[in-house]
């Protein structure tokens, strides 16, 4: 417990900017709460998501560079290995310097950042990473519908993106499609870190995952059958499950969230197993 506390202190300690946000922050959108049925979870039936604020765009390289200026401990080459693997900011030149590709990518999502780094960034904005439930709930939305789960075209578009290898240069964040809530590029830009990314307990072995799933969903087999067709959600959960908190990946970025003032902050749940 002491070491855990120390890690938290260290991470919080490096944050330069700690001014709590008082009014609705810029470039955030209001995601009105509701319920949805996640692909994997530790409860039967729908999960409730409280209303919350979410960044309209994933964090860009330029924004991340600005964060490093004030928090040089997270510079490329200076970050502690326990907090980010050796590919941290692999696409940057060095330190706080995006390098020769800056012209092309400064407005594109920052990638090759670890969960620790993403979390530190959000905290320095007075924010936090969204939970898996919040992220999945928001990602259900198409341009026009809050829940486009049954929209075949939207589904196929998502599936197409998940099937394509990364482009050489990621597009600017504004080029992502704007969904019902006003959030851009939830699908189609980059994978995104979430606060509790590793709570689904997938081991990546698809057939075993299925039996784990049955255990988790004991007594809810009928709803499970429909979810088995949701390949895009499978892929997101599979991706998250392949990660560890110090991993950095070339198409994995993040955006920050913020609880609403009047919402009660529930402690993160422990995974069922």
């Amino acid at each position: 417990m002491l070491s855990r506390l120390l890690i938290v202190l260290m991470m919080a300690g490096v944050c330069y900017k700690a001014q709590a946000q008082k009014s609705l922050p810029q470039n955030m959108v209001n995601v009105k709460g509701g319920t949805f049925v996640p692909l994997y979870g530790d409860e039967n039936g729908p999960v409730e998501v409280q209303s919350f604020l979410l960044d309209a765009y994933p964090v860009t390289n330029a924004e991340y560079a600005a964060f490093l200026e004030k928090n040089p401990k997270w510079n490329k080459g200076e970050v502690k290995k326990i907090f980010a693997d050796e590919n941290y900011l692999r696409h940057w030149a060095n330190g706080q310097n995006i390098g020769p590709d800056a012209g092309k990518i400064s407005n594109s999502p920052v990638v090759n950042v670890s969960w620790f780094a993403a979390k530190a960034y959000c905290e320095c904005q007075g924010k936090r990473l969204p939970t898996v439930a919040e992220w999945e709930y928001t990602a259900l939305a198409s341009e026009t519908k809050a829940n486009a789960a049954n929209d075949d075209k939207f589904y196929q578009r998502s599936l197409d993106w998940y099937s394509q290898p990364n482009p050489k240069y990621l597009p600017p964040v504004q080029q992502g499609f704007r969904n019902y809530y006003g959030a851009y590029g939830m699908i189609g830009l980059v994978w995104e870190w979430t606060q509790d990314f590793n709570s689904a307990l997938l081991i990546g072995e698809s057939r075993s995952d299925a039996s784990l799933d049955r255990q988790l969903f004991c007594g809810s087999g009928s709803s499970g059958a429909k979810d088995v067709k949701n390949y895009v959600a499978f892929m997101r959960y599979a991706f998250r499950s392949s990660l560890k908190a110090n991993y950095t990946v070339g198409n994995l970025g993040f955006r920050c969230a913020q609880s609403k003032k009047n919402a009660s902050i529930k402690p993160a749940k422990r995974p069922a197993i």
Partner: protein, 493 residues
Amino acid sequence: MKRSPIHNAVVMAALAIYSAGILSSCSTQTSKAETTALTDKAATPLELPIVKAELTDAPLVPAPITRKHAAKVVVQLEVTEVVKKMADGVDYTFWTFGGSVPGKFIRIRQHDEVEFHLMNHPDSKNPHNIDLHAVTGPGGGAASTFTAPGHETVFNFKALNPGLYVYHCATAPVGMHIANGMYGLIMVEPEEGLPAVDKEYYVMQGDFYTKGAFGAPGLQPFDMEKALDENPSYVVFNGSVGSLTGDNALTAKVGETVRLFVGNGGPNLISSFHVIGEIFDNVYAEGGSTANKNIQTTLVPAGGAAITEFKADVPGNYVLVDHSIFRAFNKGALGMLKVEGAEDKKLYSGQIVQKIYQPEGSTVQEMPMSKTPLAAVASSKDMRLELGKTLYAQNCQACHQAEGQGIKGAFPPLAKSDYLNADVNRAIGVVAHGLEGQIKVNGELYNSTMPKLKLSDEEIANVMTYVLNNWGNKGGEVTPAQVRSAQATASSH
């Protein structure tokens, strides 16, 4: 460390939000990663020589194993997601073990200890893992190789059983990973090795599910509904239509023994693997140890394999098919083996008789009209020639041949044809009404039947003009008006 009250507030907030569970699991995982690296070094057995596995792309296989002892074999397999050709004009995003479909062929020996490295390229969109059916252990290795993009995992296994085994990705959703091409073969040779043969090849079938139908051009996305319905747009050998035909055909010489390592990645279909014109002398069914003799067609299950062996006795082209035959002719499951060498007429004579067979009698028969689009109308002789060329290819070329040379004894020539040039109106009548009975063309007698072709006057004019202006004929232009008057004359006979 100097901290302001605000800092402290943030610390407390962080503590509240990230209560115990999350951070503890993260720190546990970090130490797990370190342990893996240590085990990796410690697990190398001291007594076994270390060999780096030679990996090959289909249709090639690594050389047979000659060593008489087990080894520590290091296999390094890289996963990449690449856009490649599925068919002419059709691209697909393949997920691959080693850059192409099927994945690299791995060849080891029974009792070898394998140190398996799975590297997932940083440009990959997805995490991947590998289940080798040659592995005895959880997930066939999948449980130990779940690898995020830009990462590498390592595990060890001992090859307990000999045989030909499929490997594939097993990451959720597993069907999609396989449908995108994530499979290959690993051969575990028995201790005594396989019998020596002259040629060895690697052929692996797979079914693909694209949004567009077979042949629909462009970069085709994966179609999940078709995959669930098990209704593929493509069924191919070695990852694309034409991967084993034309210049890519397999080759052998007469007298050589050929061994095909045949796999089937699926994800859905079972293959009825057959080589047209060959009988397999030996089939190690399902990749196992018992040879079945004298087999025409062998089943290769999805996620299974077979070793087929045969001697190439007769020269010629041998077509590899999935004998669920619509897959071969309409979905791409075709390959070819070219056997070169001396003919043995006792084994296979080639054609010795070819003649006309007319069970319905020699009356004129009507060809059904194949298409009903509005025919183009020629506005000049050049255009008439152009349109006539196409009509010739569609209606006449099968018998009268590409250069109008005909086939001696069966179909009279149109090139330098005295019969044609002597009377153009008569020739128009033949095209319009068909012809039966004996005629003499360039000194040869022909006694057969030409069917009545359902061509319009315009089309007859075009094809006649084309014929008259090619292959040494007398030239000129036939107009629809001439066709009409010639027909009137012909039918009055």
